[in-house]
């Protein structure tokens, strides 16, 4: 049983004929230049972009036909960044993830224990009472992740989760995602090919709304594809744990 299955999936002028199957666990990175359709694809998977063309099934059922609440109990989405106008505390933001389970106005003991657990995993308990707007980029990202985890999802979709993080936080976030991906599907859009190479089980590269490569990170992220898709000359170093360096701009 697959989690997501897409056939000839398309959306307006952003995505064309994408077909793929995602397993029920593992870390999948989606890479590609700006405007290649990465966020569009993630949005469709999250049930936020419709109507789409073709078919996109989750657990055997078309995404747009899922009742929203049921879907939110199984698929969690993390936006690129969250900017708040109002003084919610970190814990309040985390507890919002429990909305698909809420039956009324008040939080239950189960909601609170789910939040506690998610905040322990993401190491955010220390600032649970702080105004979300005063958190650093790394702290905020972890709070958002904790919020998504309280949804108890089977699939976690992240839009550029590491963009605003420093090196140490990028690594610890990806290590955590790698840990989580043992039991659930993690799909992360990223611009950092080295992170994708190091942590993901599979990489999907998009170019102009089409899938340009999909498979094992080492096989997909080769110099030819990178030159073709990103217009950059890349060199692969090492063989045990390969990493990439980029040289001058490739003139097509």
């Amino acid at each position: 049983m697959m989690s997501f299955t897409a056939k000839q999936l398309g959306f307006a002028y952003g995505l064309y004929d994408a077909s793929f199957e995602f397993p029920r666990s593992g870390l999948i990175s989606i890479a590609g230049p700006n405007g290649a359709g990465k966020s569009t694809l993630l949005g469709i998977l999250a049930g936020l972009r419709s109507p789409y063309r073709g078919s996109c099934m989750f657990a055997g059922r078309e995404v747009r036909q899922w009742p929203k609440r049921d879907f939110a109990r199984r698929v969690a989405f993390l936006p690129q960044s969250v900017r708040l106008e109002f003084p919610f505390t970190a814990e309040e933001v985390v507890l919002m993830g429990r909305t698909p389970y809420a039956s009324g106005w008040f939080q239950t003991a189960e909601d609170r224990s789910a939040a506690e657990e998610a905040m322990t995993i993401t190491d955010t308990l220390a600032f649970r009472g702080r105004d979300f707007r005063t958190l650093s980029g790394g702290e905020a990202q972890r709070v958002i992740l904790a919020s998504a985890l309280t949804q108890r999802p089977e699939a976690l979709l992240l839009d550029e989760p590491a963009t605003h993080l420093d090196l140490r936080h990028q690594l610890s976030l990806y290590r955590l995602l790698g840990e989580l991906s043992k039991s659930l599907l993690v799909v992360a859009v990223t611009h950092d090919l080295n992170l994708a190479l190091q942590f993901s089980n599979r990489v999907m590269v998009l170019e102009d709304g089409r899938v340009a490569g999909d498979g094992m990170p080492r096989e997909v992220l080769n110099p030819e594809l990178i030159a073709h898709v990103f217009g950059v000359q890349a060199t692969v170093h090492g063989s045990d744990r390969p990493w990439l360096t980029y040289e001058q701009t490739y003139e097509a």
Binding site: E85, M96, W105
Partner: protein, 323 residues
């Protein structure tokens, strides 16, 4: 909701009760509660026909404007939003001014029609497919406000001296004793719609963060947003048709409460209802007592009392100051 939220709601309710008991007793002529209830003249007439209806109208008006303020700021994700942002008050004003110029008696009805027409135009402009665009709503509302202002200036220019006085009085906003039958249906609508808005408090929390944030947690954002705009507009339109535009309440009460309570709408909305009502009752009581028998327009007082208090609050921005 934090335990402090429940405490705040109870405290606000207690404060409102105190205000409601004290306000009708205050005024230029001294009256006693016992004599009023015993039917002794003139205490009975002053209490039940001059002061009490006005206090109730102030309570409902303040509550409705504050709840709408919280709601619109949340949905538009704009701290500067207020109940009049979408043009409801300018529509109501144009309606009222036309009625005054044509010599119609039903100023309230005309302002209600004006509010509804402007609102339908603004909402119509902002419909994009099945959802409403906050950006278009804001800009259309602002444009409508300035167009309505131009119409009012033009009509004011044509009006006779006595009409001109009536127009100025209406535009200043003010509370007058109204019939109990009017108060009855107004309270049914204001309490009913506010209760509905409060029932959705957990959903407003998510919508205050973002549309995708709410949608990806199972909320039908398009439907919720539409219901929110309708609810807020009904509250504001009805109140404005009876009181004229009363500024400041719907902008400042929500912010003052957020500074104290945080952003959780489950505490924020009930407190906005209770304390917004109490605030307008206090302002109206001051407006008819400070330089009695002359009245200060209540809109002037809401700004003069609320403004400095809010600035002080903003400056000493520490939570747990009094709640």
């Amino acid at each position: 909701m934090k335990p402090s939220g429940t405490k705040s709601i109870l405290l606000s309710a207690a404060l409102l009760v105190v205000v409601l008991i004290a306000a009708p007793l205050a005024g230029s002529s001294h009256i006693e509660l016992g004599r009023a209830f015993a039917g002794v003249s003139p205490d009975h007439e002053i209490f039940f026909y001059a002061r009490l209806p006005r206090v109730i109208l102030a309570l409902l008006g303040g509550a409705a404007l504050s709840v709408t303020g919280v709601l619109f700021q949340c949905m538009l994700r704009d701290p500067l939003a207020e109940p009049y942002t979408l043009g409801v008050s300018s529509g109501a004003s144009v309606g009222a001014v036309i009625a005054i110029c044509l010599g119609w008696r039903a100023t309230g009805l005309a302002s209600l029609v004006g509010a509804a027409l402007v609102l339908l135009m603004v909402l119509g402009m902002a419909v994009e497919g099945r959802r409403l665009s906050s950006f278009t709503l804001l800009l259309t509302g602002v444009t409508m406000n300035s167009m309505a202002f131009a119409v009012i200036l033009f009509l004011h220019n044509l009006a006779s001296f006595s009409q001109s006085f009536a127009i100025s009085r209406w535009l200043m906003g003010g509370l007058e004793a109204v019939e109990y039958s009017t108060l009855a249906w107004l309270s049914v609508v204001v309490v009913g719609v506010s209760a509905l808005v409060m029932a959705w408090a957990p959903q407003w929390n998510l919508l205050a963060v973002g549309d995708d944030w709410a949608a990806s947690r199972g909320i039908s954002t398009a439907r919720l947003t539409t219901m929110g705009y309708i609810a807020g507009s009904v509250l504001t339109g009805l109140v404005t048709s009876l009181t004229g535009p009363i500024g400041f309440v719907g902008l400042i009460v929500p912010h003052a409460l957020r500074l104290k309570l945080g952003a959780d709408h489950r505490a924020l909305l009930p407190c906005a209802f209770l304390l917004g009502g109490a605030f307008l009752v206090v302002c109206d009581t001051l407006s008819r007592t400070v330089i009695a028998p002359t009245e200060i327009p209540v809109g002037v007082l809401t700004a003069l009392c609320g403004g400095p208090f809010f600035l002080w609050l903003l400056k000493s921005r520490r939570r747990s100051l009094w709640l």
